[in-house]
């Protein structure tokens, strides 16, 4: 599973920056039937959280109505230099994380 994270490398203190994340994932709804007529089990990312300076600054709860390879774009007010960390969890409870360093100067 690969992930694309877009965090600017540098920001001025107090600057509002745009953060983007795209996670490669089928987001299988659990409502579709396969070729054998049985329901394809649900397999979705349920939660994507963004942490910065030890705080959760943004979280998205996702439902089957979110596209495959979910993409999220939101904003963050730059404070101090630190990692912008993402933690995402699927409906079976599996968690993954990745992040980028944001240098504030």
């Amino acid at each position: 599973m690969s992930v694309l994270i877009n965090v600017p490398e540098t920001a001025a203190p107090g600057e509002i920056v745009t953060i983007r994340i795209l996670i490669q994932h089928p987001m299988e709804t659990g409502f579709r039937t396969g070729r054998d007529g049985a329901l394809v089990p649900r397999d979705i990312i349920e939660s994507v959280a963004c942490l910065y300076q030890g705080e959760e600054v943004f979280r998205a709860d996702l439902f089957p109505a979110i596209t495959a390879n979910p993409i999220l774009s939101f904003h963050l007010r730059a404070g101090e230099t630190g990692r912008v960390e993402f933690v995402w969890t699927d409906n079976s409870g599996v968690t993954a994380r990745d992040g980028r360093l944001l240098t504030v100067a």
């Binding site: 509002i16 709804t29 409502f31 979280r59 998205a60 089957p64 979110i66 596209t67 999220l72 774009s73």
Partner: protein, 148 residues
Amino acid sequence: MILTRRTTLATLIGGPLVLRFGPAAATPETMQTAIDGFTGGADITEGRVTLRIPLLVENGNSVPLTVSVDSPMTPDDFVEQIAIFNEINPLPDTARFHLTPRSGLATVETRIRLNGSQTVHAIARLSDGSFWSAATEVIVTAPACREV
């Protein structure tokens, strides 16, 4: 006297339009239940929320959505949550965004699936406990969820 009456009438008519999504509205029942679950039955006022979705969508499997709320995003006055609801997908819940004053700007973008033409609703809960909404009608020519 006449001036007073006019002023009173203008205030009544032009005042903020308070919209309660009642069961009698055209929105399906399941979405109403989901919205009630989100608001706890509180009043929802139309406004402050902008929901941008293409009016005509060819592919319901990937519909770009941008929601923004007019808010200073300060520790005293910020958007806590934005919930997106749809009318006719199997589940009315679409996405829920939790924001903080650290967000700086209450604008979120994602891509959604729409199982046919319908109205999409965005409802924001502010830090003062008030609820604000916007809705957009979308025509979908090739719905999601149909094919394997």
